[in-house]
């Protein structure tokens, strides 16, 4: 059986609808076990690392912070990507998308609501993760640089905003959530690992190829800015607030752009089973 909706709204967006959809996503997040399992894994692995005795010195902490932050980043990416990737396909499979869009909820509201729900849910998860990280760090270092940790968590959250928007765009392009999640994971890790160095690669290439690589360098979202683990691990102090604000605005603009693309693609899609 196949049914389709080719309804296009021209009315003003309703914030109530957006929040209602976001609320459902947040509820789904805390009902699922993913977050709890990942938090437990982070806690167990970090405590195991902490229990290792190294030259009878219990003040060694940076390796522990390093391991804990790496696990937090991986866990948060897993939560963000898997949560965002299943949103639209799950609504389609369970056929709840049809009454939702017929209610009427605009497609833009639907996409923004899904984004907001995933992003806020990831924010809650990050608060729990960073709270644990702060406790571990304070237990060894006997200091708690709250502002530095806040900056790091905020930038992490901003990074997840871009990632979630990218995955939502992927979920209206790719049919299967698994392929979307895998592709997005590879893209995000690739960007975090190499995007900051593409300009160095581009200057070594000449002509059209160099120009193309430079164009890609400017076009892709620079997620590596939001990974400030080195500064936190080695206690480098606060990031310049202007730079912090700049990165926040960049994340906002990029998320908006990706969500806009997702909305445009979704608008032109015929929703079928």
């Amino acid at each position: 059986m196949s049914s389709s909706i080719s309804w296009v709204t021209s009315r003003n967006p309703d914030a109530g609808n957006v929040f209602a959809i976001a609320g459902v996503v947040i509820k789904e997040m805390y009902r699922r076990k993913d977050f709890y399992v990942l938090l437990a894994l982070v806690v167990v692995i970090t405590l195991m690392l902490a229990s290792v005795g190294i030259f009878n010195d219990d003040r060694i902490v940076r390796y522990l912070k390093d391991g804990c932050l790496l696990l937090i980043w991986l866990s948060s990416l897993v939560i963000a990507i898997t949560t965002a990737a299943r949103q639209i396909p799950a609504e389609r499979e369970s056929r709840t998308i049809f009454p939702l869009l017929a209610k009427p909820v605009g497609r833009g509201e639907f996409v923004v609501g899904k984004f907001l729900g995933c992003w806020v849910a990831c924010g809650f998860a990050l608060v729990a993760f960073y709270f644990f990280f702060g406790m571990v760090s304070a237990s060894r270092e006997h200091t708690l640089p709250l502002l530095a940790y806040f900056q790091a968590m905020w930038l992490h959250w901003m990074c997840l905003a871009i990632v979630i928007a990218l995955v939502l765009l992927g979920s209206v392009i790719f049919t299967a959530p698994s392929s979307n999640a895998t592709i997005c994971f590879i893209i995000v890790l690739g960007i975090m690992f190499a995007s900051g160095h593409l300009n160095s690669v581009a200057v070594q290439m000449h002509g059209f190829r160099g120009g193309l690589v430079y164009a890609i360098y400017y076009a892709i979202p620079h997620l590596e800015w939001y990974d400030v683990r080195e500064l936190i691990i080695h206690n480098w102090g606060l990031i310049d607030w202007l730079a912090w604000a700049g990165a926040t605005i960049y994340a906002g603009l990029y998320s908006g752009l990706l969500l806009g693309c997702a909305w445009l693609v979704f608008q032109r899609r015929t929703v079928t089973l």
């Binding site: 030259f55 010195d57 902490v61 930038l155 360098y217 939001y226 500064l231 080695h234 310049d240 990165a247």
Partner: protein, 281 residues
């Protein structure tokens, strides 16, 4: 029917267990340590990881200011961590001329991105050197022949961290894996000379280090001549601490043949000879 299948499976399991048991025993007993299991599981790839973890310790020594695979590095340059632990005194050192691997930012994205990672060349100091130790230990665990891991960890343990017992224990682990290493013996002798002020044991260890170096030299294994100079230098220091002038003279005369600062040493030899020739009061 299912009963017979179950019995057959049980027999198969028992037969496999008798075969595998001896293999596992051999795996566990090879070398008599957990390292043998790592060797069996990882093979030679563990050496690659050991190098990586040593590089990680170097990155920690610079508080994260460290070149990635994309950054330019001068060919043949040794890491600051090795240099510091082998030659230079402790303390904060800024190497502005070495900090240039980043270069000038090529565009606004790179300039802006530099707010989010370390861009200043500093070294750990004042006891924070302990933060490197987990990576050095891991490096040595993965490759027990990674001498630099033992030497570097021991240097920091016995100097700024003031943990000679831990340094000695780690060096002895290294010595068990590398019984012919004159480098480890040199470092072990220093623990006895500088931390324990036990010149008798220190001298014996340095003599053994000298013997090992000469053995490798005789076998054309090209041992490090700088290390030989260091061994002889430490022997002379022990002689001086023991007040054994005749022995000191003999050792200095040997040292002068390989030393880089020959003139200074020759001057000291003349002074020592004059002191020995002077009539005793």
């Amino acid at each position: 029917m299912i009963k017979w299948v179950m019995i057959l499976l049980l027999i198969c399991c028992m037969a496999m267990a008798t075969g595998l048991d001896s293999e596992f025993l051999r795996l566990h007993n090879r070398g008599g340590s957990s390292a043998s299991v790592v060797v069996a599981l990882m093979g030679d790839s563990r050496r690659l990881f050991a190098h990586e973890f040593f590089a990680m310790a170097d990155a920690y020594f610079h508080s994260g200011f460290y070149p990635t695979i994309f950054d330019r590095q001068k060919a043949g340059t040794e890491s600051d961590l090795k240099e510091e632990s082998h030659d230079k005194p402790e303390g904060v050192q800024e190497h502005e001329e070495e900090a240039s691997f980043l270069g000038k930012p090529k565009d606004w994205i790179e300039r802006f991105g530099r707010h989010f990672y370390p861009t200043v060349h500093t070294h750990l100091h004042g006891g924070t050197e302990r933060e490197m130790l987990p990576w050095l230990k891991l490096s040595a665990d993965l490759d027990p022949h990674e001498l630099d891991a033992y030497l570097t960890a021991s240097y920091w343990l016995r100097t700024s961290l003031n943990k000679p017992d831990e340094a000695e224990q780690f060096l002895r682990e290294g010595l068990r894996a590398n019984p012919d290493s004159y480098e480890i013996l040199l470092e072990l002798g220093r623990v006895y000379l500088y931390n324990r002020t036990n010149t008798f044991v220190a001298r014996n260890i340095f003599m053994l280090a000298r013997q090992k170096w000469r053995k490798q030299d005789a076998a054309k294994a090209k041992p490090d001549p700088h290390a030989y100079e260091e061994i002889l230098g430490e022997i002379v220091r022990v002689d001086r601490a023991q007040g054994n002038l005749n022995q000191q003279l003999a050792d200095m005369e040997e040292l002068v043949t390989v030393a880089r600062a020959k003139e200074t040493l020759q001057h000291q030899i003349y002074e020592l000879k004059a002191k020995l020739a002077a009539p005793k009061k």
